[in-house]
């Protein structure tokens, strides 16, 4: 299968503080020499603790962070993203229907009726019926909001979806539902997903292969089973051991 995203020797930087006036700039290297490929229709997991550079990596891949060296090659349209916090990723001033229609409206060349019909279809696909279109985000629960986010992200029919900790703000039962939904969409639409989480178990459930990230570098990669059963790197071992300990308790 063809690659859909190729990242080679990516180093990303982050500049602290304001970039104007006489403030001293503090440029930090967040990602160090990262390379990986994602193929069409596969689910890749990225695991790392908070602050290890996951979000910077995602921003760089999506073109929101311009400070980087190395190469990022997209073999599809702009990938879309599902954000971690479903409470800030939906515009509170707009109705759900408007939010879901907006990608098509921006793209243009589509009649109002078609736009509305497609939005309703997409809402149904993510498990919400059409009455949700008339509601405001504040009237929805966290899980419902995350479904709306997924619907919005899929409106432009991207080949790659980047999910940045999409379930870490949700209850465990809702987590399972959202993961199930992502898996189903992956099957139905042949969607490739880069699934990012700090929770090893969540990633293990969903991914074809995983990367473990620590302090800006990828310390281990392999299929989920391999990494889980036979970790090579000491950091991965600690991660899995902590999990096992938590299970015993």
């Amino acid at each position: 299968m063809a690659n859909i995203l190729e990242v080679s020797n990516l180093c990303a930087y982050y500049t602290e503080g304001r970039q104007i006036g006489f403030h001293k700039k503090n440029r930090k290297q967040v990602c160090k020499d990262i390379s990986f490929q994602i193929k069409e229709g596969e689910i890749a997991g990225l695991i790392g603790e908070s602050g290890c550079g996951k979000t910077t990596l995602v921003k760089t891949i999506l073109g929101m962070n311009k400070e980087y060296t190395g190469e990022i090659k997209h073999y599809s349209e702009q990938p879309q993203m599902v954000f971690q916090d479903p409470y800030s990723s939906l515009n509170p001033a707009k109705k759900v229907g408007w939010i879901v229609e907006e990608p098509l409206r921006v793209k243009g060349g589509i009649s109002k009726e078609d736009m509305h019909r497609k939005a309703i279809e997409m809402l149904k696909k993510v498990g919400l019926d059409e009455k949700f279109a008339e509601r405001y985000p504040s009237q929805l629960s966290g899980g419902q909001r995350q479904r709306v986010c997924i619907a919005t992200a899929l409106m432009l029919e991207p080949k790659l979806l980047i999910a940045d900790e999409p379930v870490s703000a949700l209850d465990v039962t809702i987590q399972a539902q959202i993961i199930h939904l992502l898996l189903q969409l992956h099957k139905d639409m042949g969607l490739a997903i880069l699934f990012i989480s700090h929770d090893l178990r969540v990633v293990y459930q969903i991914s074809d292969w995983v990367m473990i990230m620590k302090e800006g570098t990828i310390v281990e990669r392999g299929t989920a089973e391999e990494v889980y059963a036979n970790p090579q790197n000491s950091y991965t071992k600690t991660l899995i051991k902590t999990l096992a300990d938590a299970d015993e308790v």
Partner: protein
């Protein structure tokens, strides 16, 4: 025992009632006053009992009567007719001021808040400099440059009102621009202008709307103040401030003259003030 439960129940009930009252209190009274005033003023545009500029020598400083509800001024002009006409002028000036102030304020605030950087630094420093002067003093400066006249008053007050609105909009944009829904909008390919005015602006409305109401009050008072000082609306046109300054000479002989105008100003400001508070409570 039963008394106790009863007590708890009534307390809860009254709390609920209070909450319900609290939500509507300001808004309702504000709306009633404002609508009544607006009806008066609208009628004033079409019909006044007497020609507000016609002088009647025989009626100089006449008291309250069936023919003249609020009496007549020193030229024998009907005060009620003049108040109607005058509050219309005041209202128009205030509306124009707010339109200029919020219009330019929204554009400046959106640009500086959204883009940040040098543009923000330069514009906001200018803004601070303008903000440092009281708006009425600033308007005085503009009037001395532009000359007097109703249109010039609107422009001068409008410019003086820009900084406060620009600030409010800017701070709201700063709050919103790092939200995930803005990033999402960028990802789907929405342009900067679309993100600013379609995605972010509606989220600033609750704050903006209540400050528009307060700004409206300030504009009414500023216009009255400037006309009182004689640099606002010029005679023979009536405006509330203009009339107040004419009335002050007869404060002791005909207190009703100044009082009736003052009450009109108070009602106008009170109505919009309460309406602004009510809107603030709504969200």
């Amino acid at each position: 025992m039963s008394e106790k439960t009863h007590g708890v129940k009534t307390m809860r009930k009254s709390e609920k009632e209070q909450a319900a009252k609290r939500i509507n209190y300001n808004l309702r009274i504000g709306a009633v006053i404002t609508i009544t005033m607006c009806v008066f003023i609208l009628i004033g545009f079409v019909y006044t009992p007497y020609n507000p500029e016609a002088m009647d020598e025989t009626q100089k400083l006449a008291g309250i009567s069936w023919h003249h509800f609020l009496g007549c001024d020193n030229f024998g002009r009907d005060i009620f007719s003049r108040v109607l006409k005058g509050s219309g002028t005041t209202l128009l000036v205030a509306t124009g001021t707010i339109l200029i102030g919020t219009g330019a304020g929204i554009i400046l605030g959106a640009l500086t808040g959204y883009y940040g950087g040098w543009l923000d630094e330069i514009l906001m420093r200018i803004n601070d400099a303008i903000f440092a002067f009281p708006s009425i003093l600033l308007a005085l400066v503009f009037i001395s440059l532009l000359g007097t006249g109703t249109v010039n008053i609107v422009i001068a007050l409008g410019i003086a009102f820009i900084p406060s609105f620009a600030r409010i909009v800017r701070s709201e944009f700063l709050r919103c621009k790092n939200m995930d829904y803005v990033k999402q909008a960028k990802l789907i390919g929405a342009g900067d202008l679309r993100i600013m005015f379609v995605h972010i602006l509606p989220n600033t409305l609750p704050v903006l709307l209540s400050s528009v109401m307060i700004g409206f009050n300030n504009a009414v008072l500023a216009e009255a103040g400037m006309s009182y000082l004689g640099i606002g609306v010029q005679p023979p046109f009536a405006s509330l401030g203009r009339m107040l300054s004419e009335a002050q000479a007869y404060l002791f002989t005909r207190p009703g003259y100044a009082l009736s105008i003052g009450i009109f100003i108070i009602l106008l400001v009170l109505g919009f003030g309460l309406l602004g508070e009510g809107i603030k409570e709504l969200k």
